[in-house]
């Protein structure tokens, strides 16, 4: 992170409390958020409500090339998320669908579509895919004959791939051909309720390398916080604190705070196929932050302005939920 704001007010990331290896509190990582009244809740599925399945329209156009079927790639993508350590994500493949227009997608299916031409974004080659996630408030119909058990419950999620973009199923994107599995793994994170992150190595970073099929520690912290497994595969804790301006002591909203390991240890066994990365969150309007899903290790905590490569514009869900403007008028600080 650049130090171009040196003339600005300095910042202190005050670790008001550091609590490792404690049960994660209720609030979470960087999920997509819904504001209901004065409450801000993380969007998530209620797996106890109805079976959550993805429904593939197997039809593909000539823009999908490669030796693997699109169906096998999508299955591999969901396998990646459902096998994430510490997470309980019982999402399975449902019946295939012939729906070929997003506007016609029924409320009770979660459509994966390669031939839906009705979305305005499909006219842009710069947009590869979008995920449209529907949430409702508690007591609202869940579209499956029941009602939502909590605010922010996801009841439907559709992933629409741009029919005018070239994808390969071979696992390696190059030039103008996009790797389907990389794109789909990111979109499946949105399907499950994950928002973008500021950790560049994470699959949920808004801009990724040409080929990335595995989750990072940051991704796993997010998904396991949203959907914690009853008995964790690997014990994790949380790190909490407050980001304040030096001098004025004013709270800093929207600081990108991350825990970066200072060791070469791999607290998640390699069998889980996770990429070690920092684990991050953003500070709330009162300056507090809570980094969850942190495995035992040695960490340095960094608070940095969200001024690139991810910027305040990349997390509109966070800013619209909390209101106000994310602050970037400080320099990076390590603790």
């Amino acid at each position: 992170m650049s130090g171009r704001n040196f003339h600005r007010i300095l910042l202190v990331a005050a670790l008001a409390a550091v609590s490792m290896l404690l049960p994660p509190p209720a609030s979470s990582h960087l999920p997509e958020l819904t504001k209901v009244g004065n409450n801000i809740v993380a969007n998530r599925w209620n797996f106890a409500g109805f079976p959550v399945q993805w429904n593939l329209n197997p039809a593909t156009g000539s823009n999908i090339q490669g030796s693997n079927s699109a169906a096998s790639v999508i299955q591999a993508v969901f396998d990646t998320w459902t096998s994430a350590p510490n997470a309980n994500v019982p999402v399975t493949r449902g019946a295939d669908s012939s729906v070929s227009a997003e506007a016609s997608s029924p409320a009770n299916i979660n459509l994966i579509c390669f031939v839906c031409m009705d979305a305005d974004f499909s006219k842009d080659s710069g947009t590869l895919a979008v995920t449209i996630t529907t949430t409702v408030t508690r007591g609202h119909s869940d579209g499956h004959g029941g009602v939502a058990a909590f605010d922010g419950q996801i009841i439907k999620s559709d992933i629409i791939f741009n029919p005018n973009v070239q994808f390969t199923t071979d696992g390696t994107g190059s030039g103008s051909t996009q790797d389907l599995q990389t794109v789909a793994t990111h979109e499946a994170g949105h399907f499950l309720g994950m928002d973008h992150t500021g950790v560049t190595r994470a699959i949920m970073f808004p801009f990724a390398p040409a080929s990335e099929h595995t989750l990072s520690y940051d991704d796993d912290a997010g998904i396991s916080t949203l959907y914690p497994k009853a008995i964790a595969d690997v014990t994790t804790g949380s790190i909490a604190g407050t980001v304040r301006m030096l001098g004025s002591n004013a709270a800093v909203f929207g600081a990108h705070v991350y825990a970066g390991s200072t060791s070469s240890a791999l607290p998640f066994p390699t069998s889980f196929n996770l990429r070690k990365s920092p684990i991050s969150t953003l500070s709330k309007p009162d300056g507090t932050y809570l980094i969850q899903g942190v495995p035992a290790d040695s960490y340095i905590i960094t608070a940095e302005p969200l001024d690139g490569p991810e910027s305040t514009s990349d997390v509109p869900g966070f800013t619209s939920a909390y209101g106000g403007t994310i602050q970037t008028n400080f320099t990076t600080r390590w603790h």
């Binding site: 819904t34 305005d120 006219k123 842009d124 408030t137 996009q178 390398p209 514009s313 869900g317």
Partner: protein, 190 residues
């Protein structure tokens, strides 16, 4: 020692290939970063304006929620715009149901933006943002008097027609720089 002919061949053909191969491609998982020049080419209308009001409603099939934002047009940088333009975006909230599209930014009343737009495929008189979100540059007026714009997209590197490496200025950039690039892109496309 390398001969002059060989050197020219390397400059003309191999160097661009080497640069292309060695340039980290910022391929988005949901977006490919579009430089201002590409946004300009793909836009029928580029305007600077201020959001005055917005509302969300279901489509006719009651399957998708769209948010509509009305802008008062301050000036036009490409194309012709009426005094008011309505921009349509996927997502929004209606009666306890919310549809989310990660990365899509909506505009509160009073927010100023430079927008790269094209008519909606629905032909309903509304416009959509080119590149889903990339053609949406938030305008920020600093106390120093400088006006900055940003669409949240990181730096883009590519090879131009001459095979030279170009690097688009990462956002935020000044409004003046954005205007210059839009004008240059329009001149080149004529």
């Amino acid at each position: 020692m390398m001969s002059p002919i060989r050197t020219r061949v390397i400059r003309k053909y191999l160097l661009p290939l080497f640069i292309l191969a060695s340039t980290p491609l910022l391929l988005g998982t949901s977006m490919v970063p579009m430089p201002v020049e590409a946004l300009t080419q793909n836009a029928a209308l580029i305007m600077q304006g201020e959001a005055t009001r917005s509302w969300s409603q279901w489509n006719d099939q009651h399957s998708l929620i769209y948010t509509y934002t009305e802008f008062t047009v301050a000036r036009t940088l490409k194309g012709q715009a009426p005094a008011k333009v309505v921009v349509k975006q996927l997502g929004g909230s209606v009666d306890g149901t919310t549809q989310h599209v990660s990365g899509v930014r909506y505009w509160p009343a009073g927010e100023e933006a430079v927008l790269f737009l094209r008519p909606s495929e629905a032909k309903d008189g509304t416009h959509v943002v080119v590149g889903l979100v990339q053609g949406n540059f938030r305008v920020e007026r600093l106390s120093s008097g400088e006006v900055r714009v940003s669409n949240g997209v990181p730096e883009v590197q590519w090879l131009n027609a001459a095979g030279e490496q170009s690097v688009s200025q990462s956002t935020p950039m000044t409004l003046h720089d954005l205007e210059n690039r839009i004008q240059r892109a329009q001149r080149l496309s004529q």
